[in-house]
């Protein structure tokens, strides 16, 4: 622990030693110090030390006030009471009565520490137990604490001077030598305690700082590595499950997501580079060819029309890519709502059934309502449409396409199965990549984005896309979390509001 604490100090020392060699010798250490003070570990430690120190000081002051201060106040109260009594005597009986009272009090020695001295206008003592008027007592009506000669021995007196009408001066005091000794003992004790607290506070601050540093070191190392471009780094977990672990987990989740997005961006830019160039080149070539070789307006017109068609294709690929990107970012959850998949699927069957019939095919719907899910209706429609379009594209006539759905535990599965040529096993993992097109699909129109979009939609819905061999053909399975509490949620909503009313 100590070695960690000491780290910044030796690191700074060589700088200071090297400083004269530097072109700007006074500047460097200064910059360093600012940085050092910016360390929040240090700030926390200093704050801790400050709070600790302030509370220790407050405690010491209170203790002092409650003990040593109390002694002082007692003495002063006694003196004030004396003065009150004596001044009353003086008013009643004049100087003679006062002198008598003082002598009485001294003779009775009610308080052996009591000190009285009555002097005339020239400060000549009239009566009292001090032989001379102490020279330091000059101002009227004030407190003094000074050593005096009291009879035979030295004393420390705390005194108050009163000026009486008629030019007389009265000094009332107490010998506080023993009390002063006690007070200085107390003061010394408190000062030592304070010193101890400062030391303890500093040690505590240092401990806090090093704990803080150690907990953050991993996070900052990881962040630095990421900043250098190494996205594979992750923050290590201490396994204690504390706040720092939770922070580390959050940071790791964030990094995972960033890495996924970066991968997506990389994949898309690669895809654009490879797969959009082809149709763009084709459109461009067609236009250039027409500009150079068209024999008449009809040729030109036809070429422009074909190029427009090509451009429309490119635009639709772009829109597909953007749509997938939009879905993957997850910003589309705003359109989520409770819906019944059965209605969605039977509409789909109705829409595509007509197309299937044209091709001598049939779409069989095997599902039973209700199939409640929580999702984006448009996106789910598009996902199912993409699967149906694939099935229609690759099915030979006579083999029905199955559109089925059902509940499986807490999931709802949608199955689109065809009896077509199927996907070769080696391609199964890759068909959901953007622009991937299997050998058998090369000759058919399409952009190679259909399954990528289905995959993205499923991820947005916390579901999955599974492609299986239907022997022959493909069996695409969409698995979505079912909405169990659909009805409960609807009923529950007003129940939540009632108590508030």
């Amino acid at each position: 622990m100590m070695s960690q604490v000491a780290r910044p100090l030796p690191a700074r020392a060589p700088d200071a030693a090297d400083a004269p060699a530097e072109p700007r010798p006074r500047f460097l250490p200064r910059v360093r110090r600012v940085k050092f003070l910016r360390s929040s570990a240090l700030r926390f430690a200093l704050l801790y030390a400050l709070i600790f120190g302030v509370s220790a000081l407050a405690l010491a002051i209170f203790l002092w006030w409650a003990t040593a201060g109390l002694l002082n106040r007692q003495v002063e109260a006694a003196i004030n009471a004396d003065a009150q009594g004596l001044s009353e005597r003086y008013q009643e009986g004049g100087l003679a009565a006062l002198v008598l009272t003082i002598q009485d009090r001294l003779a009775q020695s009610l308080d052996e520490n009591a000190i009285y001295l009555l002097a005339n206008a020239q400060l000549k003592p009239i009566t009292g137990n001090l032989s001379v008027w102490p020279g330091q007592v000059s101002g009227p009506d004030d407190w003094f604490e000074l050593p005096v000669e009291r009879g035979s021995h030295e004393a420390l007196a705390r005194m108050h001077r009163y000026d009486l009408p008629g030019g007389f001066h009265l000094l009332i005091g107490r010998d506080v030598a023993s009390r002063a000794k006690l007070r200085s003992l107390l003061t010394a004790g408190l000062l030592w305690a304070l010193l101890l607290m400062v030391v303890l506070g500093s040690v505590g601050a240092i401990v806090i700082q090093s704990l803080f540093r150690r907990s953050l070191a991993d996070v900052s190392e990881t962040a630095a590595a990421i900043a250098r471009g190494d996205l594979s780094n992750r923050v290590r977990l201490s396994g204690r499950g504390d706040e720092f672990d939770r922070l580390a987990e959050t940071i790791n989740d964030m990094l995972d997501r960033i890495a996924r997005l970066m991968d997506g961006v990389r994949q898309v830019s690669n895809a654009i580079a490879h797969d959009l160039r082809t149709p763009i080149t084709r459109a461009r070539a067609r236009l250039e060819d027409a500009a150079l070789h068209a024999r008449d307006a009809g040729d030109l017109h036809a070429a422009v029309e074909r190029a427009t068609f090509d451009l429309d294709g490119i635009v639709s690929v772009f829109q597909g890519l953007l749509r997938i990107a939009e879905i993957e970012v997850g910003s589309r959850r705003s359109a989520f709502a409770s819906l019944d998949l059965y209605a969605l699927l039977s509409d789909m069957q109705e829409l595509y059934g007509a197309v299937a019939e044209e091709q001598g095919l049939e779409i069989e719907l095997l599902a039973k309502p209700p199939l409640p899910v929580f999702g984006d209706r448009d996106l789910l429609q598009q996902a199912v449409a993409n699967l149906l379009e694939n099935a229609l594209k690759f099915s030979p006539p006579g083999r029905p396409i199955l559109l089925g759905a059902g509940r499986l535990g807490d999931k709802i599965e949608i199955v689109v199965a065809d009896g077509g040529c199927g996907i070769p096993p080696e391609d199964l993992d890759r068909v959901t990549e953007r622009f991937f097109r299997g050998e058998s699909a090369r000759s058919t129109p399409g952009s190679g984005l259909g399954l990528a979009l289905v995959q993205a939609v499923m991820q947005l819905h916390n579901g999955s896309l599974r492609l299986e061999d239907n022997q022959p053909g493909v069996r695409a399975v969409l698995s979505l979390p079912a909405e169990f509490n659909a009805s409960r949620r609807l009923k529950g909503a007003p129940a939540v509001e009632t108590p508030a009313v």
Binding site: S316, Y352, V355
Partner: protein, 228 residues
């Protein structure tokens, strides 16, 4: 029809203005939001085509919000390069009646603008639609042509209703997909064509004169033959 186009790109604006004029409309053009707002507020139009991103401090959304705040109910179609679903929702929430993403096919724009101006009139209660000798009774949901009853599936009925409500007007495939099926995506296959051709089998095939015509590169139009 008197149409205001607010669009800052000169090429796109020129293309749209030319196309709309060829289709027989009167078109005014504003190249920035300030002018657009001034014209929209001070003159009367049947429809406004509005770009979202405009120079001059006032973008399309603000222009429309200002206009709607003045209780101006001119139908507005957004024509924007901002094509994400959220953008679309924002545009419609601000008071837009339709939203078309750039790049666009002119026929689609024309069809949608013309459909916009119809929308207001269609709100009045109609119980019967007729195109040529084809009649649709919206109350009994029955269709007759030349006095002969035609049996339609529910979806075919809705398709025909949509076409008849927009009679004399080009209806694109996307409009049909949105209006009849409520689908908002581009199918790769010719689903709409298949459904329209099925409808044709029942509505046009047995009769000497077709009412439902295909418009090349655009969509379909329903109209009595003699008007062609």
């Amino acid at each position: 029809m008197r149409i205001l186009l607010v669009e800052d790109d000169r090429d796109v604006a020129g293309f749209v203005v030319k196309g709309l004029r060829e289709a027989g409309h009167v078109v005014e053009h504003a190249a920035n939001g300030r002018d657009g707002l001034f014209m929209a507020a001070s003159e009367s139009f049947d429809a406004i085509i509005l770009d979202r991103m405009l120079p001059g401090g006032i973008d399309g959304l603000r222009l429309l919000e200002t206009l709607r705040a003045q209780e101006n109910t001119t139908p507005v179609l957004f024509l924007s390069a901002l094509g994400q679903v959220d953008d679309r929702v924002k545009g419609l929430k601000a008071g837009g009646d339709d939203y078309l993403t750039k790049p666009f096919v002119f026929a689609e724009l024309l069809a949608r603008v013309e459909a916009l101006t119809r929308r207001g009139k269609a709100d009045s209660v109609v119980t019967r639609l007729a195109v040529g000798d084809l009649e649709m009774d919206l109350l009994s949901r029955s269709v007759r042509r030349a006095g002969q009853k035609i049996d339609l599936q529910p979806r075919e009925y809705r398709l025909l209703e949509y076409l008849m409500r927009h009679a004399g007007q080009v209806v694109t495939r996307t409009m049909l997909l949105e209006g009849v099926w409520d689908y908002h995506f581009d199918p790769q296959t010719n689903v709409i064509d298949v459904h329209v051709s099925r409808l044709r089998q029942k509505v046009d095939k047995p009769f000497p004169r077709p009412l439902l015509h295909t418009v090349r590169n655009a969509g379909y139009i329903m109209r009595p033959d003699n008007e062609a």
